[in-house]
């Protein structure tokens, strides 16, 4: 029996009031193309701003905004200013799902750019019904080759080379430079890591011991990194006199944890460390407490020029923009990659023409994307049948200053595919940068 009448009345009334308020604030029907007006284009990005991945990737939205602001100050895209709405997903698939849904439902963005993370974006794509809503999903910040599946992800365009490609290049680098050494793969146990595993298998590379696959977040529990290092020492004991190659296919926080644990155990120089591109940013590693003596000599791979290389015209231009439009943020490889993606985005928007539609921008990338100007040292692979961006890597080695220089002193570009194709040396020369970094394509 409902005894307390006034209590019940109060709750009922307040429920109705709040519900009414929320309903009355419902927006009227939307314009034909969401996110586009005569003066503005709204883009959205869901990425980690805080949390373990936020340390590395937290700069991405700000860097993209800086480039967009630079373009806005120089006429925008056919007079429209680009607004980037950024939401924090903490590298958690669940949050990526809700924040991406918010970007579409609440913020009404025209397109998504730079969505980050394999598990995060896979979940977000489905939860926010991007396919059903035909929302362009441009230049995603992940290398999982599954995203090239146009049936599952009809609106997605990659930019990073796939992890399978990277694995194949790593396999070749190990074969060429560290022949006969034992090798171990430590990888994140989800599609990101297994994509790499597939690449190694496709390249025919056999590791000496079973792969160490860890679930995301595994190393936040104390003692686990030390345990892995202990097991690696078993490798040393089993093959005395060798210098095993440890391939780290995870995020920067994990690379840092393992390198630190190895240093603590005094064995960091007993191995050759090969850090996959996702987890190899030297600045972040140093910030996370890895000693510079440990970083010195770590092998990695990249497809961009090094952010410290001011002789590169793209790098120099982006550094300028960063200084003017992104005050207080140190320019590094993440900022470089972000601005590069922003430049690709602007070219895509321009190529779609003044009558900007979602379908139009996707067709534009398919037909003209391969010729877009960018800082990447490897070719872009967009076509009517391919959603792959960059398709290769060059092998780098870090020094104690955290700079990535070509391994062996000479820059060699490898290109390949995500399947069984061979790894080939490429003679690709990238397009000249548009004047002042402002695209004028159409």
């Amino acid at each position: 029996m409902i005894r307390n009448k006034s209590m019940r009345r109060a709750s009922l009334v307040s429920s109705i009031v709040v519900t009414g308020a929320m309903l009355l604030s419902t927006l009227p029907a939307q314009a034909a193309t969401p996110g586009v007006t005569a003066t503005e284009i709204k883009l959205g990005i869901s990425s980690p701003l805080t949390g373990s991945a936020g340390l590395s990737y937290g700069k991405v939205p700000g860097a993209m905004k800086a480039y967009f602001n630079y373009i806005n100050a120089n006429g925008g895209v056919y007079g429209r200013k680009i607004t980037l709405i950024s939401r924090d997903d903490k590298y958690l698939p669940v949050r990526a799902a809700t924040e991406t849904t918010n970007l579409i439902l609440k913020d009404n963005v025209f397109a998504l750019v730079g969505a980050l993370g394999t598990a995060t974006h896979a979940k977000a794509y489905k939860a926010a019904a991007l396919a059903a809503n035909n929302v362009p999903d441009l230049f995603i910040n992940t290398g999982f080759s599954g995203f090239t599946d146009q049936v599952k992800y009809p609106t997605t365009f990659m930019v990073l080379p796939t992890y399978a490609m990277e694995a194949k290049v790593i396999a070749k680098a190990i074969k060429d430079n560290f022949p006969g050494q034992p090798s171990v793969l430590i990888a994140q146990d989800d599609e990101f890591g297994t994509d790499g595993v597939a690449g190694f298998t496709a390249a025919g590379h056999k590791f000496s011991v079973p792969n160490v696959l860890y679930p995301q977040g595994y190393f936040s529990t104390p003692g686990r990194d030390a345990a892995v290092i202990t097991s690696l020492r078993g490798l040393l004991a089993a093959a005395p006199g060798s210098k095993p190659v440890i391939v780290l296919f995870g995020t920067t926080d994990v690379t840092a944890a393992l390198l630190k644990a190895a240093t603590a155990a005094g064995v960091e120089k007993s191995f050759t460390w090969y850090a996959g591109s996702v987890g190899a940013d030297a600045n972040t590693l140093l910030a996370l407490g890895v000693k510079s003596t440990t970083i010195d000599g770590v092998v990695s791979a990249s497809f961009m020029p090094d952010a410290k290389d001011l002789t590169d015209p793209y790098v120099k231009q982006f550094v300028d923009i960063n200084t003017k439009y992104n005050k207080g943020i140190t320019f590094d490889n993440y900022v470089l990659a972000a601005m590069n993606s922003a430049m690709l985005t602007v070219q895509a928007l321009r190529a779609a023409g003044k009558d900007l539609t979602r379908e139009g921008v996707m067709t534009a990338i398919e037909t003209k994307g391969a010729k877009f100007a960018s800082a990447g040292l490897v070719p872009l692979g967009y076509s009517a049948t391919s959603r792959i961006g960059y398709n290769g890597y060059w092998v780098s080695q870090l020094n104690a200053k955290g700079e990535g220089k070509p391994f062996g002193g000479k820059l060699v570009i490898y290109t390949t595919d995500s399947g069984a194709g061979a790894v080939e040396v490429s003679t690709f020369v990238r397009p000249t940068m548009p004047k002042n970094g402002i695209p004028t394509n159409s």
Partner: protein
Amino acid sequence: MSEFITAVLTSLSSGAIYALMSIALVLVWRSTRVINFAQAGQAVLTTYIGYDVIQKTGSYWIALVVAVISGAVIGAIIDRLFMRPIFKRVNSGPIVMIAPVAATLGLLGIVQALIGFKWGLTNQSIEAPVSTNGIKVLGSVIAFSKFNLLVLVFVSVAMLLLTILFQRTNIGLALRASAYSPEIAKLSGIKVDTVRTLGWAIAGASGGLAGMLYIPGYFLYPNSMDLLLVFGFIAAVIGGLESLFGAVAGAMVLAFAINFATTYVSPKLFFPTAFIVLVLVLLVRPAGLFAAKKSRRA
């Protein structure tokens, strides 16, 4: 054999840190019959303060002292300005059962949010003052560093000081009396309120020490001590919530159980072991493994 030694040493190191947290929880429990869930927030706050001190002075030791002192001050402030008014207001009805838990949980959330406001949420790190590399013993490197040794030394000294305080001084006597029977203590002239605040201050100091000793191995972010809180709680329950000795002993039991389970059975058993140990103790000896009294007052 070396696996065994490693497990023992790692257990001692982690047990020492759990002990600091469980001491803090037991101290507050004994004086106010409240499990201070906010301890995780207080400890992480003092560690952030320590972090700031390191940024300014470059010295871990100064930061340690500042952290401990500010821990005491913050603990006292929380008792005076927060817990006491709440208990005065909320003293009847079924809410009495919920109020202390809700209050400390709410406080935890507020402290962590305030830390986020001021320091942001990106992970920071604090460097240990001594080497964290394994010590070389008889030619091989063991999983015990100078820092681990430091932690053990600090915890032992803290334990010693606290024991002396509680058993051999008048203040300690007052603390014990007020915890055991506040009415009688008041009658014999003890300022129960002041003594209680003192208990919170000591607990806060203990938490401050725990934070500065724990974080150098990991990262500093607002939630970085939540796990330690849970383990401190489990350790305190195992030990019986009644004595400092129990708190430390409980911490060691927990640490050994976890470390041996993960070393010899499977690393996946880290959390499940902790939970199982807790449940076992609650089922078999609810008063705690080391409590003198049989009954467990809720």
